[in-house]
């Protein structure tokens, strides 16, 4: 079945440093969504990318969808302590179903 791989599994940074997580799918996706889960919390939707090569920005967060629609990345510029959490990509092969990556857990040293 479809697999979504996400790297790195963990990332620890100093506050103010940048952070990037990468997502790769074994199959072409119709769209990709990104979610953030705080410790003890539930996944919260961040953004959805649909078009090949799409780039979207939310303040310090930049999301990219690859040209082949099989990979994606999330980049955070100048991390803040509020960015702590686990970031998941979730791919949709075409139906409503989402296939989640295993997540990248971000911790920040203030």
């Amino acid at each position: 079945g479809q697999q979504v791989m996400q790297i790195p599994q963990y990332q620890h940074v100093q506050e103010g440093e940048d952070f990037t997580t990468y997502c790769n799918s074994s199959t072409t996706l119709s769209n990709i969504q990104w979610y953030k889960q705080r410790p003890g919390g539930h996944p919260v939707f961040l953004i959805q990318l649909v078009k090949s090569g799409e780039v979207k920005k939310q303040k310090r967060l930049t999301f990219q969808f690859g040209e082949a629609k099989k990979n994606s990345s999330l980049h955070i510029t100048a991390t803040q302590t509020t960015d702590v959490g686990t970031y998941f990509c979730a791919g949709s092969p075409g139906a409503q179903k989402l296939v989640f990556g295993q997540g990248t857990r971000l911790t920040i040293n203030p």
Partner: protein, 114 residues
């Protein structure tokens, strides 16, 4: 309510017991999903409803798992003859009818099987 509501928040059961987990989606949301999240892992899809119709149950790990949404709103996930490997957080999510819409998650039910 404003968000997806799940109950109970925590459930402890002995191996072999049956459990029932409830999800109350956002009002007006047609699509409802169940996921299983093991510690340190991403949510894994279990099943999907559009209104009362269960359109995809490909993620249910065994025939001990059963989900229903009889009136197209509240859903129940039932696990019969629980096993230790069923211990996980069970997340419910809902979304509007359109395809590929963002999913809104509840806080989940943390199930522990002793």
């Amino acid at each position: 309510g404003a968000g997806v509501s799940q109950s109970p928040r925590y459930k402890v059961a002995k191996r072999g017991q049956d459990v029932a987990l409830r999800c109350d989606p956002i009002s007006g949301h047609v699509s409802l999903f169940w996921y299983q999240q093991a510690l340190g892992q991403g949510p894994e899809f279990l099943t999907y409803f559009q209104n009362e119709a269960q359109l995809d149950k490909s993620g249910l790990p065994s025939d001990r798992f059963f989900a229903e949404r009889p009136e197209g709103s509240v859903s129940t996930l039932k696990i019969q003859r629980t096993q230790q490997e069923d211990s996980a957080v069970y997340l419910c999510a809902s979304s509007p009818v359109d395809r590929n819409q963002p999913q809104h998650f509840g806080d989940g039910t943390r199930l522990s099987i002793l």
